[in-house]
Symmetry: C2
Subunit: 348 residues, 2 copies
Amino acid sequence: MRSVRSSENNDLPTLEDVAARAGVSTATVSRSLNEPHRVSKATRDRVMAAVRELGYAPNFGAQALAAKRTNTFGAIIPTMENAIFARGLQAFQEHLSLHGITLLVASSSYSADLEEKQIRALVARGADALLLIGHDRTPQSYVFLENRKIPHVVAWVYDSAQPRLSIGFDNRKAMAALTRRVLDLGHQSIAAIVADVSENDRARERLQGVREAMRQAGMDPEDLRVVETPYSIANGAEAFAELMRHEERPTAVLCGNDVLAAGALKMARSLGIDVPGEVSITGFDDIELAEIVSPALTTVHVPHREMGKGAARLLIALRDGKHPGSSVELEATVQWRETLGPVCKAVE
Amino acid sequence: MRSVRSSENNDLPTLEDVAARAGVSTATVSRSLNEPHRVSKATRDRVMAAVRELGYAPNFGAQALAAKRTNTFGAIIPTMENAIFARGLQAFQEHLSLHGITLLVASSSYSADLEEKQIRALVARGADALLLIGHDRTPQSYVFLENRKIPHVVAWVYDSAQPRLSIGFDNRKAMAALTRRVLDLGHQSIAAIVADVSENDRARERLQGVREAMRQAGMDPEDLRVVETPYSIANGAEAFAELMRHEERPTAVLCGNDVLAAGALKMARSLGIDVPGEVSITGFDDIELAEIVSPALTTVHVPHREMGKGAARLLIALRDGKHPGSSVELEATVQWRETLGPVCKAVE
DNA sequence: TCGAAAAATGCAAGCGCTTACATTGCATAT
DNA sequence: ATATGCAATGTAAGCGCTTGCATTTTTCGA
């Protein structure tokens, strides 16, 4: 074990070194750094000079241990592989860094079990608070968060039925609005390509939205053809192909997100199916991709940045023991582009 | 200040609580957890039972403070907004988590100054090692890394002239190969849309690659028209429009990455310019986007996942004081798709 | 059966910082 | 002058864990 005092060796400078150099106690140095107003200007200047001369930087572990906080927040998103959460996360991070908070990111690969592990890992690493996506997770996850009293907020969803603090939009309502637009154009035979709904409330709500709109339009929700498949371009393409193999083709395919829709669009092209002439395709999320594909994707615009920033704000308030207010609902609106059109009888 | 011992209050259980419950010393508990082989099976079982019963989890700060390591690595990537680094980072993370290491991600927005700040922030947060992108950064960044002896590896580039440990591909060579393909098709008038090359060696090398290929083909590199602009779809589109406003239009536009190329492609479409009939467009990176756009992008395929995994391996070796070996060069190959074609005289 | 080496365990000193509480110094009111 | 209050600073006790060294227990060859 090391026994020499820090001033006698060549390790990194410590608070004590700074204190010695500035001719004050370690307490004063600590305060100069963390609560400058509690220290006289003269002393503070002297301390700061010493800090600079020594190239001092606080030791993270020691700080965390003594202060019982790390100034690190965690976020667990379903995937980093595509851009669905990128913009929101970027905004989240930007807002956090304004407050001197660092962001730690982990991904759960859309698995509740893996997410539970990641929650534990991030908390073990000292995350002061957590950003989570969606309400669906293992009961143990919630128990753990409760027990450890970890401030957390759920984003990407708003569900007034859920007691938990959240910021996002009503996935069902948004999808229902989009579906109404589709039905208004005369589509009678529609299909949906969605993610596995068993552990994903966003996907589930979106699907419910479609059914709800059908019901309102006097259609039977049972008639909706649904393909469940993990989010990816390739899967979207495959699912679309499957739908098209059926003898009675749908005239509109509603996809659970833009990635699936992009895949569907790609497959339509390679099958020589005209979009939106023969089949209309819609997405959800309005990521950059939606604007790039051709024809450009009609989708649901999601307020990524507001969500990220709002989540940061809520979480900081929560961590500081302030009352964060209640869940906030943002609007997700239909973004009209080119892949949605009226049913075209001419083709038949 | 709290003065009661942990066993008397309702805080989280500590090592001491576990030790008391198992009837051993804290040292034995610590060893059971970290070096199980140094403890007899009987004791270990008893300790583990106590751990489970108490729901014990080690305190991160204390562990970091005492062990002088956090089992956390950091990565600083230029941007999280698009998918350029996503796949590589995902692979990096997957490999790290196999070794019980958590990943901390920060983004520098392609700014060397900001990157320096992020480096300091991550190190302050206890990152044991860092993944960095490209060789270009402030001298102070390198001084800092040297002084603190932070293991680090540079990814996304391989440059035999650089002494620093790196894993990646030769950007210049890859771009030169692509350019040769372009020139072989008869293109005489070519242009490039690249990122700001002043703080970005990848962009610089790619540009040099184009010039090198031109020189080899007996052309004057001075004839290359170059537009510098930050990576984004919108900027790619704008740059392309600018090139097309010129009276003598290039017949091929080489873009610094797929995002710029996607923007260019989008603009070509809205200007009614046929790709690759009138103008060929190429990208770089081969992200998912490249396959989605229509026509599909001819680009340079980058071994994202191998790079991420390899970087993790190098970094772990480095941290453990083992000899990681030397820099590794991976191959980046031309990915032929649809946006590159021969010069079409017929149009004129 | 005994002694020595090896294995298992315990002891306790830190790791570098924060912060409750004590002390000092100084301006202001009396 | 003296008492009073407050701001500035210091003192020192932890925070919960790891680990070098000391001590105890076990193992095993002779």
